[in-house]
Symmetry: C2
Amino acid sequence: MTSLQMSAKEEMVEKFLDAAARGDVVLVTAHLAQLPSVINQTGYSGWTALMLAARNGHYDVVEKLLSHGCDKYLVNSSSQTAYDIAKFWGHRHISNLLSRTDEGSQRVLLGSEVSPQENYFSREMLDRLSGKRTDKTWLESKHSDPDTVYLMFSKLNPMVSMPQEDDGGETKLCRFRYEAVKDLLQKPATVLIFLGVEKRKNPSSSSDAVQEPPAWFAIGSDEDAVELLKRCREKNFCFPKSPHRDLLKLNEEEAGVVAQARSVLSWHSRYSFCPTCGSSTSLEEAGYKRSCLNSECRSLQGVHNTCYPRVDPVVIMLVIHPDGNQCLLGRKKMFPAGMFSCLAGFVEPGESLEEAVRREVEEESGVKVGPVNYVSCQPWPMPSSLMMGCLAVAMSTDISVDESEIEEARWFPRQQVIDSMFKGSHPTFSVPPRQTIAHQLIRHWIGINSNL
Amino acid sequence: MTSLQMSAKEEMVEKFLDAAARGDVVLVTAHLAQLPSVINQTGYSGWTALMLAARNGHYDVVEKLLSHGCDKYLVNSSSQTAYDIAKFWGHRHISNLLSRTDEGSQRVLLGSEVSPQENYFSREMLDRLSGKRTDKTWLESKHSDPDTVYLMFSKLNPMVSMPQEDDGGETKLCRFRYEAVKDLLQKPATVLIFLGVEKRKNPSSSSDAVQEPPAWFAIGSDEDAVELLKRCREKNFCFPKSPHRDLLKLNEEEAGVVAQARSVLSWHSRYSFCPTCGSSTSLEEAGYKRSCLNSECRSLQGVHNTCYPRVDPVVIMLVIHPDGNQCLLGRKKMFPAGMFSCLAGFVEPGESLEEAVRREVEEESGVKVGPVNYVSCQPWPMPSSLMMGCLAVAMSTDISVDESEIEEARWFPRQQVIDSMFKGSHPTFSVPPRQTIAHQLIRHWIGINSNL
């Protein structure tokens, strides 16, 4: 390709992006017909045509680009997808379109066209490459690789940079290089977890197909937070004090990484000793296994769950009144004033999800539940739950609260829920924030038989 | 009510049952109009009209009885429901009808009319009454209650009676009374688990509404199986040697009880020591909690998962070829010759179900997966997994097997799967038995877009 051709192409990209930004769907279509490869090209700050159309609310252009197979998962230099942009600017019809999978026709093969929504903490920007966890040579080469990213954790919380004006007010993970952490890696109390390598976003488009993508590790250190922070010159670095609040301020991708790292680190923090014989254990497989140091221990014969991280399945459910127009929400004493949420509880041994939903709802509220449907799930890294979100239909309506579990439970009419979530400047109650699966379950219910 | 009236009623019940058994839907309807309460009455061996109609393949009578609100969950004196009977006698259209929830109209409220199937190990015949686990007085009164049922476990397996000709060839749990086990309860090595109380099947119909239903306990004993068996005079009592095979021979209700008991017992067997500090622990809350005996241990401050039974979420998935007409099955070396099954693997910390499906399929077979839908789940008490069954659509078709995980993986055409499962006397391969969720997932897929 000559430099003249390059420049002609650059000009075309610029015109194409401009057409998308202005909402000129005819010109966008013409460009795509002439040069299909223009579709994922980026302009200023890594913005694609899709992002520009999403920013300015041009639904028809977004639709056209999607139908031509554009990559909707690309991010701009601020790590935003077109979906993030549409959502931020309040173009709900576009963010809905972008959140839909382009796989409707394939879903028919599953006997259901419902696509589970993506919840906060569940996006995976890393490929875990679990096969590499036993490859010590490979892991060691990654440790000192200048591209490798290290995250630092103290008491299970990651070091983050607090929002500054010029980064759009986002809390971000602090990423370190080998040089900054190599002495920490030598300390015996340091726990090192291999998180994975970055997934390629656009494998065909650039030269990094030959180069291996960067590896990520999490460092859990026993040094206290103050000591760790002394290593940094940045004043706005800190360890969040309130993970239930502060970890919800990360972007979707970093939240997913924290979910993985924090769950594994909390397992190490709680499971340092062999539960079968009480002996000490050693950390193996890049942080995903602990083996008993007592050679007589039966946990060393065969495969035992004692050696692997724990994940606790939880059911969380929105119970719908038999009239279809009210939902059951409860509040715990520790909730902020006025907040109500879905009921929830741990799945017991030998219990199906659906039975766990019925048991928990009856225990906590006295309401009997019939049909139960799984909707979507959310890893919740405090410490290591897997929240299985369900809708359920009540078979009885009298409420009798178990006060050891919740303070109050009530039927809320659909319109009151809608008003509180979307409209009222004086809401009569509140629900948990959008990053929680409780919030998403409520929205999902509101969306059934309506266009919200 | 005079004895004359009683006898008139008895005569009517007999005629009604006879009409149901013969398939006379007109007479059945007439009886129901005349005396609605006849609907759940039982005759010889506790058989209801529904059971008789199910036995003899009278679909229209079954439909009529269901539409009049008969209780399809009643059991006869052999603990069989109408569904069990229809299934046993091969009336598949009737067993399908009986397995369907009568809640279709309510499911609309959930935005999906798909009803999760019930899997083996997931039926709950007991109400766990978790609130009673801390009520020592109540528990003690139940220990010596003559109605209380005890199950005995050695090395995690329950004592069962092996099939005899006169009980229909069923493996059954051996149920003991207090007198038979009271000395065992005194031994310090005995683990005692409160399982729950029997659910009332038909609360309105009899006098047991005043009486509390029987409580069930599981006893895990360190005495060896031979010692325990000496306590019984029955020759056909035994402890199964091969739980993966033998525990699949129980009826649905007993299987559900074993799932609960075995999962909790295996937790005690593996988690005797505090994982946080390595100290000994004591058993609490009727077998559902272990507390560290070291008063300094941080597991005693706040609520920690180390103190509660472990449940391991597993994904098991049937991957469908993009052409919709083939499915991906794999085999492990340990499988019986010719057997193939769904791929499966443990959910990792910080991972959603759907991502776990994608990761495991790609790791084990090299196939990339797009949309994933949850279908149903199965508690699998070996030792304490929760199998989350999903269908998934492949986005690529080349297979590259991870030989450390599986021996072979292949695409099987739908017709070949149908032939092997339902027809061939010389099947080209086999799938796991009907008690497994793998089997049920495959059947579920076959059922989509077909009438099988």
